[in-house]
């Protein structure tokens, strides 16, 4: 199967006052048509930067691409002009953001914010665009869509706003939806509804999804495959099932032990000791070694080679055999 999008060796760096921040350091992953890929990792591990890199939303400067390519429909997104990039954004690849409270423009009616996407990409008339938006709002479970279109964001609840964001993202039927922690800012019950919605969209529209989360619990039941990020690097990737059954990186293991599970007996939840490193001073060797219970001398000096657990389950750890 040819992947829908293929990120190869992506390096997104930032020049900051504290030094060079390697927010994405040699990141590679594929998203296959119709699948949901999970990206997990602690705060600051580079998940948002990775997804914003796909849409080229990184502020340059201070950010820049030091290498790599992002192949989508046979083209390298990193080489496209801004005009070509605009034709992809919101049209073929859409993104929804963490905080629906701030992601919508408080000064504009919902109608304006939805219809403008169709006017821009499909050159639709406002009337036609409005009708299309109403149709989409119904699909994402917004009741009274005509009334909501006339409202401003502050008149809607958080869950409704996120539904608006999702509707907005889907208007042009993109082949890829990037959801960057879409539920982190919402109540638990609303979280479940939004996740359910994303899953049903994936099935109904056959839209591929990159679901970013710092919560393994969220991605467990949602995703086909997983990418685990730590300090700007991918430390483990593979089928979600495989990773849950046989976590093959100490960091993934630690993440799994820090969430409550119903499928395994747990004596207690273990938070990961220590803090994630600052990306401008990443430890040498394996970046996880200062927090790792399995670390040996080699881990402090040399970055691990790729270990294949199965043909598509890989880990970046010297000590895989001991896990």
């Amino acid at each position: 199967m040819t992947p829908l999008i293929s990120v190869k060796g992506l390096k997104t760096y930032f020049r900051t006052d504290e030094g060079l921040v390697k927010a994405c350091d040699n990141i590679s992953f594929d998203v296959n048509p119709g699948e949901i890929l999970g990206v997990v990792g602690e705060s600051g591990s580079g998940k948002t930067v990775a997804s914003m890199s796909i849409l080229r939303l990184i502020a340059e400067p201070p950010g820049y691409f030091d290498g790599g390519e992002i192949i989508f429909e046979g083209k390298n997104l990193l080489k496209l002009s801004m005009k070509e990039m605009r034709e992809i954004r919101g049209n073929k690849i859409s993104m929804i953001f963490q905080d629906p409270m701030t992601a919508l423009n408080p000064f504009l009616k919902i109608e304006t914010q939805l219809t403008e996407v169709l006017v821009q990409h499909k050159s639709m008339s406002l009337d036609k665009a409005r009708a299309k938006c109403i149709e989409m709002l119904k699909k994402v479970g917004v009741s009274l869509p005509e009334r909501r279109l006339d409202m401003y964001p502050h008149q809607l609840s958080g869950g409704l706003r996120q539904r608006m964001m999702i509707a907005m993202a889907l208007l042009c039927r993109p082949s890829l939806l990037i959801a960057d922690e879409p539920t982190t800012a919402l109540d638990v019950t609303i979280q479940a509804q939004i996740l359910e919605l994303i899953k049903s969209i994936n099935q109904e529209f056959n839209t591929s999804v990159i679901l970013i989360s710092h919560d393994l619990g969220v991605v467990a039941g949602m995703t086909n495959r997983l990418v685990v990020m730590y300090a700007g690097k991918i430390v483990e990737s593979g089928l979600t099932e495989d990773i849950f059954n046989k976590p093959s990186h100490p960091y993934t293991k630690a993440l799994l032990n820090s969430i409550p599970r119903i499928d395994k007996e747990q004596k207690q939840l273990d938070p990961i000791p220590g803090l994630p490193p600052s990306l401008s001073s990443i430890p040498t060797g394996c970046p996880f070694h200062p927090r790792c219970a399995y670390a040996v001398e080699k881990c402090k000096t040399t970055y691990p080679e790729t270990a294949f657990i199965t043909s598509d389950h890989i880990s970046k750890c010297w000590e895989v055999s001991r896990l």
Partner: protein
């Protein structure tokens, strides 16, 4: 909404009443009198003069009388000029307003376009040079800028008359002199306001939707980005429209500005009061308008 307007109108009236009361008594408390400069006035003539203007009455009575006349639109007589205050204002205020309009247009046009442009070209040579010019505009006082403009554009280039009144050309140099400092402030405020919005999450969303940059600036950034500017515009427009003593003196404009200074020097009680009322009405009116504009710009603001 209409309740808000009614409430605000009422509070404006109360404010104006307080201003009138305070200035009426302050002016009277100041040492000197309208007739103190003219020496050798025989006591009986002085008494006649005082009677003519009602100054022989007890002060509370004078105040009540003044308010009664004011309600009928009568601002009283000037003690210095052989005219009523109404006449003086009717003749001089329109000129000041015309000059003020030029100044406002200049300040808005230059200020907002420079501010917006600097913001969308943040940290480029354009941005730096616009902001440097704005800094100069803020620091150079009008009594320096005015003569420089006269020197260059009247005495050297012969483009505009150096002063006086009569045609549109007469208004240009004083208008620019008056408006420049405001243009500079507006440019800086606009830039800051726009930048604040450009950095928000919702502008990132707009970019992620594939909208054109010019559209994003116009539709998503402008409204919120101009709010700090609008706040400043209330008092700024009021003070531009009521002119400037300095500018009107430099350019010999027969506006209301010089009268204010003269009136103060001459203790021209009723003229001072008249001009104070004009000024404060303008200021309150502009701030009122600004409050209404807020509601139009920011839907989160509710009037209740």
């Amino acid at each position: 909404m209409s309740l808000f307007i009614a409430k605000r109108a009422l509070s404006c009236l109360i404010t104006i009443f307080i201003i009138i009361t305070a200035s009426f008594f302050t002016v009277r408390l100041a040492p000197g009198s309208p007739f103190s400069s003219e020496r050798d006035i025989p006591p009986e003539v002085l008494n006649n003069l005082k009677a003519k203007y009602g100054l022989d009455q007890p002060i509370e009575k004078q105040f009540v009388h003044y308010l009664e006349n004011l309600l009928q639109g009568d601002l009283g007589l000037s003690t210095k000029y052989p005219r009523s205050v109404n006449e003086i204002i009717a003749i001089s205020l329109p000129k000041t307003l015309q000059l003020g309009t030029i100044a406002v247009l200049w300040a808005l046009l230059i200020g907002i376009s420079a501010g917006v442009f600097a913001a969308i070209r943040q940290n480029t040579a354009w941005d730096y040079s616009f902001m440097a010019i704005a800094m100069i505009g803020i620091s150079v006082p009008s009594f320096v800028l005015g003569p420089i403009l006269i020197l260059v554009f009247s005495l050297y280039l012969y483009w505009f008359p150096p002063g006086g009144w009569g045609s549109f050309e007469h208004m240009i140099l004083p208008g620019i002199t008056l408006g420049t400092v405001y243009a500079a402030y507006i440019a800086r405020l606009t830039r800051a306001g726009m930048l604040e919005i450009i950095r928000t999450d919702f502008v990132r969303t707009a970019k992620a939707k594939g909208l054109k940059e010019s559209y994003i600036i116009w539709k998503h950034v402008m409204k919120g980005g101009l709010i700090p500017t609008i706040t400043y515009l209330g008092p700024a427009i009021a003070s531009m429209m009521t002119g400037s003593v300095v500018v009107e003196k430099i350019f010999n404009t027969p506006g209301i500005g010089p009268y204010f200074v003269d009136a103060a020097f001459n203790r021209d009680y009723f003229l001072i009061m008249g001009i104070v009322i004009v000024y404060s009405t303008f200021l309150l009116g502009m701030n009122f308008l600004v409050d209404l504009l807020y509601g139009y710009l920011d839907p989160r603001i509710r009037y209740d």
